[in-house]
């Protein structure tokens, strides 16, 4: 399951819409081991293509070093599909190498209704997971006081 703040979801969708019909891509960093996406970084799609994406390698080095220095991990790696559904393509699966990363796909093929889905991709095996969108991580599921909100 991907637990993620609404503003981050909105930012991914806005990025995908802005770059349409080319694919948009980016990463959301979070504290190492936390599984909590916090800092969204829009990446340049070096391919500038409606059917492919690739992080610009120099930009990626810079961003990965920043994450390393801040003890962060790439909790989410996202990209858009602009003419097909939000499901990983064969190329997506072949490149996916981070077992702890949530791979998020945003489809912008419908201009009024986006589709956003999340996957784990491990050794070529794709597993879709639920996306739980919350306003804040601190009060993600505020209920009765005797229901601890811990994950």
């Amino acid at each position: 399951m991907l637990l993620i703040r609404r503003d981050l979801v909105d930012a991914m969708v806005a990025h995908a819409r802005r770059d349409h019909p080319d694919e948009a891509c980016g990463v959301i960093a979070g504290p190492e081991g936390s599984d909590r996406p916090e800092r969204l970084i829009e990446m340049a799609n070096a391919e500038r293509s409606p059917t492919f994406y690739r992080f610009d390698s120099s930009e990626q080095l810079r961003v990965w070093r920043q994450m390393d220095a801040a003890d962060e991990a790439p909790v989410v790696i996202y990209h858009s599909h602009t003419a097909t559904e939000a499901y990983p393509s064969r190329t997506d699966i072949s490149y996916a190498s981070e077992p702890d990363t949530h791979y998020v796909l945003v489809s912008t093929r419908d201009e009024s209704q986006h589709e956003l889905r999340s996957y784990r991709i491990v050794d070529g095996l794709v597993t879709e997971e639920p996306v739980d969108v919350v306003e804040s991580y601190m009060f993600a599921h505020t209920g009765a006081d005797d229901v601890p909100d811990c994950r």
């Binding site: 990965w64 996916a96 190498s97």
Partner: protein, 90 residues
């Protein structure tokens, strides 16, 4: 020529969990051979049919070696070699 090589999380199984290891060589190809001698299995993750695997980015200092000779890229004493998984798809 001694260089320091940064290893990405996904390849640390080959280095006993180490984030960074030392290697020697005058070209990237030699550095990778030296890595393989001490950390078996790494080469197969980096090189395919005599060229760098498209699934990885390798940098000498801050330069992506795809633009500076690939496996033939020169390294000199004290250089930093960084390996990252390429992030790409369709």
């Amino acid at each position: 020529m001694a260089v320091t090589v940064s290893i990405p999380t996904i390849l640390r199984t080959h280095t006993g969990g180490e984030k960074s290891v030392d290697a020697t060589g005058t070209t990237l190809a030699e550095v990778i051979d030296d890595l393989e001698a001490n950390h078996a299995g790494l080469k197969g993750r980096l090189v395919k049919e005599g060229t760098l695997h498209r699934f990885v980015n390798v940098y000498v200092n801050d330069e992506d070696v795809r633009f500076s000779g690939g496996l033939a890229a020169k390294v000199t004493d004290g250089d930093n070699v960084t390996i990252l998984p390429a992030v790409a798809g369709g």
